[in-house]
């Protein structure tokens, strides 16, 4: 068990490329933290710096208040699960899991005990004598996890461990990893590019882009209160819709754009005052757009006329892609599967006023 304290951590490559530009994260004991972001955001680099596989160019890394910057990977008491499993192809499942323990010169009986226990936990007992090539991707990844478990590390690091698996197995394995976390209660740091995986697994999510932290929060807070436009657009599927418009004052404040005039909800009236006459970006999630003909209870915006372009019916729900009158951008709106629209259909919708987000055009920060 360990806490991890990352202070102003930096990674610079010799060609002056800044991969990590001063990151601060603190990870509590037993926490499941997910590092997520688009490719090239530095999430894997950060994980590899925690592991000691990459040198730290600046800043400090502490495990349990102990400076780790120049501690050799093997002395950090961590275990890592790699995207390509990194199993030794010439060793059986047993030997793969036992390898690190043998190097530590642990007594044979104890190695046997630990490996068989881990195999049991992961449902690998009957495969113990197999070679990796005789197993499926999911089983191999389980062996890789087993290899991490037997070492009883302070910290588990996962580098996109499910990316090589097919969609169904990925969902299954992510539950298994969560279950394992509940059982072991170890500190785990998990890297993924998949925001859904991040939301499903993390106690705490660190959103990275271009080597900078954009927000650290719980999944629900990221969804409800994104701190900037990037986080707002990154979390959620289908992604949040954004419209540019202007703030005008009549009997109250309004957000106005072509064919849309939306009254600013009361809690935001004060902070929006300073944007009067300026342009801002408004964001609204596809989940919070409602068919005016059907939804009567929520406080919806004034009427918005849309024309449906494409309909994706995924069974449990339907994603409707539409254009706001005259504009090029395509937006989306989620409806229930019982309310199926057809392409070309004209519709009057409203947006839930309590679920609107506004962003400063220059800083892209949320206006709160």
């Amino acid at each position: 068990m360990a806490t991890i304290e990352i202070k102003n951590l930096q990674k610079t490559y010799p060609n002056n490329h800044y991969a990590i530009k001063g990151i601060d994260v603190s990870i509590q004991e037993g926490e499941f933290v997910v590092l997520v972001g688009p490719s090239g955001c530095g999430k894997s680099t950060l994980l590899r710096m925690i592991a000691g596989l990459e040198d730290i160019s600046g800043g400090d890394l502490f495990f349990n208040d102990k400076l780790m910057n120049s501690v050799h990977p093997k002395d950090r008491n961590i275990a890592m699960v790699f995207q390509n499993y990194a199993l030794y192809p010439h060793m059986t499942v047993y030997d793969n899991m036992a390898f690190g323990l043998k190097l530590k010169k642990m007594p044979k009986a104890e190695i046997y005990q630990r490996v068989t226990d881990a195999a049991k936990t992961l449902g690998l007992t009957e495969y113990i004598d197999r070679l990796p090539k005789e197993m499926s991707g999911g089983q191999r990844q389980r062996v890789a996890i087993g290899r991490a478990i037997v070492r009883q590390p302070d910290v588990f690091l996962f580098d996109e461990p499910l990316s090589n698996l097919d969609a169904k197995l990925r969902v299954q394995m992510r539950t298994e990893i969560k279950r394992l976390h509940r059982k072991l209660r170890n500190t785990m740091v998990y890297v993924t590019h998949d925001q859904i995986e991040a939301m499903a697994m993390g106690d705490k999510i660190v959103i990275l882009k271009d080597g900078v932290v954009h927000q650290i929060d719980s999944p629900i807070n990221l969804f409800r209160h994104p701190q900037n436009k990037f986080v707002a657009g990154f979390i959620g599927s289908p992604a949040m819709n954004f419209v540019s418009g202007e703030i005008v004052k009549e009997e109250g404040l309004y957000f106005v754009t072509q064919g849309m005039k939306i009254s600013i909800p009361p809690p935001l009236q004060v902070s929006m005052e300073k944007y009067l006459g300026k342009s801002v970006d408004m964001g609204f999630r596809p989940e919070y757009v409602y068919d005016k003909g059907l939804e009567k209870e929520r406080r919806l915006s004034t009427d918005v006329e849309i024309e449906i372009l494409v309909v994706e019916n995924v069974g449990s729900e339907t994603y409707n892609h539409f254009r706001l009158n005259g504009m090029d951008t395509i937006y989306s709106y989620r409806s229930s599967s019982s309310n199926v629209h057809i392409p070309g259909e004209k519709l009057t919708v409203g947006i839930d006023l309590e679920r609107l987000h506004f962003f400063d055009v220059e800083t892209e920060k949320s206006i709160l």
Binding site: A51, G52, L53, P73, K74, I78, A79, M80, F82, Q83, N84, A86, Y88, P89, H90, F99, G100, L103, K104, L131, K133, R147, R151
Partner: protein
């Protein structure tokens, strides 16, 4: 409009046309000579004679009573045992080192590979000079107080000298094969081992060696065959001497066929040599398969 899809017949026609010429060349210079040497191994073949004297298996019977043949076989086996393991290990070690991020590795790679692309006659002549009584080797050893030795004319050192030359010339060549093999090993295996506390040496023995096993197989087979057939270095450096100390099987084949003009006997020894190489390769394939995992 069926222009873009040629018929199967057309494809076959062109396939055989393109195959014909290389096959013909191979037939003339490889297959027919092999068959021919098999045929003449049953004769006392004379180049100028109009009628050849059929001996049956007498040539082969003679081989098994021929002391020099046994000496040649012993030399070849010693040579192979000396060269193959050292050469393979050296090649792998060089490749492992060259695969690290070290300064000037392009220079070293080239330096190690140059002997492999240099004519063996040239390298042999250079080594004759190095091994001679006034040569480089003796002057270096002289610094450390060793007495000068005439390496190639001393029966105790002649074979070893040729072995050293061969190890030097081919290690670089096989290093390139190993380098290709090493670059196919995913880096994450080393990283995983590093996290588990494996030292560089342990990484080498537990990951590199088993992972390059298919390459090792290839290298061992190629170098076994090469060693069993060693000829040019012997021919240039020692002529099989002194007192047959460096007569190898290939050289003995050559000697019989083209020095003593006993073409039938030479052919018979060549066939025995081919048989031995085949047996060794089959044994290796059976007991040390290229890729057991």
């Amino acid at each position: 409009m069926k222009r873009n899809s040629s018929t199967k017949k057309e494809q076959q026609f062109w396939a055989y046309t393109f195959l014909f010429f290389p096959l013909m060349l191979l037939a003339i210079f490889v297959f027919i000579p092999i068959l021919f040497s098999l045929v003449i191994s049953f004769f006392d073949w004379e180049l100028m004679a109009s009628q050849q004297n059929f001996l049956g298996i007498n040539n082969f019977i003679e081989i098994f009573g021929d002391k020099i043949f046994y000496k040649a076989m012993l030399n070849t086996v010693l040579y192979t045992i000396g060269v193959v393991p050292i050469q393979t290990m050296l090649a792998l070690f060089l490749a492992f080192v060259m695969n690290q991020k070290i300064r000037g590795r392009t220079f070293f790679r080239t330096a190690f590979y140059i002997p492999a692309v240099t004519s063996s006659v040239v390298t042999s002549i250079i080594f004759v000079a190095i091994y001679s009584k006034e040569g480089l080797l003796n002057s270096i050893l002289g610094i450390f107080g060793f007495a000068a030795n005439d390496w190639l004319t001393n029966p105790h050192t002649a074979l070893i000298s040729i072995m050293m030359l061969n190890i030097w010339t081919t290690s670089g060549y096989f290093m390139v094969s190993f380098l290709a093999g090493l670059q196919n090993i995913p880096n994450s295996l080393y990283e995983a081992a590093k996290l588990e506390g494996a030292t560089k040496r342990q990484q080498f023995w537990h990951i590199t060696v088993p992972m390059v096993r298919p390459v090792t197989y290839f290298v061992v087979v190629m170098s076994l065959i090469g060693c069993f057939q060693v000829f040019d270095q012997v021919f240039v450096m020692s002529d099989g001497g002194p007192n047959n100390a460096t007569t190898t099987m290939s050289y003995y084949v050559y000697q019989n066929a083209f020095r003593y003009f006993r073409l039938g006997y030479g052919a018979a020894t060549a066939i025995v040599l081919a048989g031995i190489i085949m047996i060794v390769t089959v044994i290796q394939k059976k007991y040390f398969p290229p890729n057991p995992y």
